[in-house]
Each structure stands twice: as C-alpha cells, then as structure tokens.
Amino acid sequence: MPAFSQHDVKPSERISRYIFRKDHFNPRTGRVRPPVYEPARPKNESDSYKTSVYRTEKLNDGEIWDIGDNYVTKEHPEHLPSLARADTQIQKVADAELKIDPDGIPHPRHANIIGWPDSDEARQIKRALLAQSAQLVLRS
C-alpha cells in the first residue's frame, strides 16, 4: 500500500463505509439509504455517537474490500460479507457539520465520523445528507 499518514487528513479524501444489507442501497438508482450512516450509540458517559469509516484514498478496489473483510467482517460475530460500500469525501462530512476522528484503530486508515448531535431529529438529517452525498460502489 502507498505511504499513508494517519494524522494528515485532507478534505478531498475519500472515506468508505461498508454496507452489509441489500436493503441499505438501491443498485438501480445508485442511492445509499440514510441508515447506513447511523452512528453507534455511546457506550458510556465519556463516549459519543460515532460512525466507523475507512479512509480509502489512493487504494485500489481490491485493497479497499480487503480492509472491509479483515477489519469489519472478521471482527463481527456473524462475519457478514460486505455487499457494497458508500464512498464520500471528508469535505461532505464537514458540510454536514460533523467531524472526522482519524483514530487509526484497528487499522491505520480507520476513522470515526464524530460530532453527532444528541437529538434524534438532528442526527436524522445529518445521516440523510451524508447518504445523499455518497456514491454507491457495488462489490462485483
């Protein structure tokens, strides 16, 4: 893989969210459903809402799917295979008034979308904005 800096985050960078349900995207319209970006709930008082993504700029398709297989599917109890992914840019995260935390765990390219508001309705519009900005990439 090309050299990669965990902390050098550029607005134009691509981020990918793996999708494991066929009803979370529409291959006919190329649309990603908003629930794809629903953040995981905080696990304790010091935690916050976050959506797990991978920074996939300058990776080829095979490398991107490999990360999903090895760091998402393999880590999940049911080992669900990824069916597609939602690609967008870090700038779109900023446009939705959210932030990227490039935590690099469990993989140097891992990041979380953070800054989600506490109110259900505010999260609802932000995840819709992210979904609308995303490009659907089907796994062949």
Binding site: R33, P34, H76, E78, L80, E121, A122, Q124, I125
Partner: protein, 171 residues
Amino acid sequence: MTLTTTQTAARLWDLGSRGCSETYDRLAKKVLETIDDATRPVSLGWRRHLSDQAKTLGHECSRQGWDGYEANPILPEAVSRALLLIELLPEGTEIPELVPDPVGEISFEWSDRHDRILSVTPRKGVLVYAAILGHDHTQYGKAPVRDSWPAEIQSILTRYFNHASLFTTRR
C-alpha cells in the same frame, strides 16, 4: 365497544411508549388481524405487501448487530409500530421503501429522481423525520403520532410524494 382500526392504532401507539404489556398485546393482535383481513379490496394490496415486508424485516433483524456493525435488534414492538404506520398511510401517497434501521426500528423512505428524499423513523410515541427537498432546502423534526401521520410529514408527502404530484410540475 368496537374500536376502529384508527382508534386502535392511536391507542396502541400511545401504549407502546408506556409499556402496558397486556393491553398492548391485545390491541396489537387486533391491529394485526385487521391488517391480515382477507376481505380487503385489491386496491389495498400494497398495504399488505408492506406489512408482510415489515414482518420479514422483524425476523431478519431480530439480533444485535444485524447490519454488520452494532445495530439494535428490531423487536416485535417496533414491527407493530411500522404496521400501524402502514395502516395509517394517507391514500394517494407514493408507496414508501421500508428500510431496517440500526436504531432498532423500521424506517420509511421516499425518494424521487430529483434527489429529494424523506426519511421517517418511528420512535416510541413520535416520528423522527428528515427531508432533503432541494439545494439548501431541508426540513427535519419530530412529531407525535395520534390517529394519523403528523401534519408536518403529510404536508411533505402531499407536495412531493403523492401520485398526483407525478403529473404536476414540482419546484
């Protein structure tokens, strides 16, 4: 006393947020029976189709992490909420897509070729909604469900996602 479907739906929705299990179960059964009524006209077939789909999603997504991440399970109460909303959908509304939601609910989604989208997620006692209706034109909020879909959402549905609007110019 005989309850209409709408009255039953409203009561069930309220009870769903209070956790009154015995009455909840009785009313839920009545709603399910109503939805399963074999005497329904063919024109209402789409409601049955959506209801079947909601029940299937309830089965498929009953375990934690069904989305490949940390999704909450979609419990029978959430399926009941979706069934009620299907029953209460205004006539003339375009048929929504049902989408399993990691919050543990079944969301309703409408979209069109103009990139407009309306996403509605039931929560206990309320509907949370977000709509992208054009460039820099968004609406979102939450509203209680009583004997019909909330006026705020119906307004969006009427203007952008109803059968009549397919034949009119939309801004």
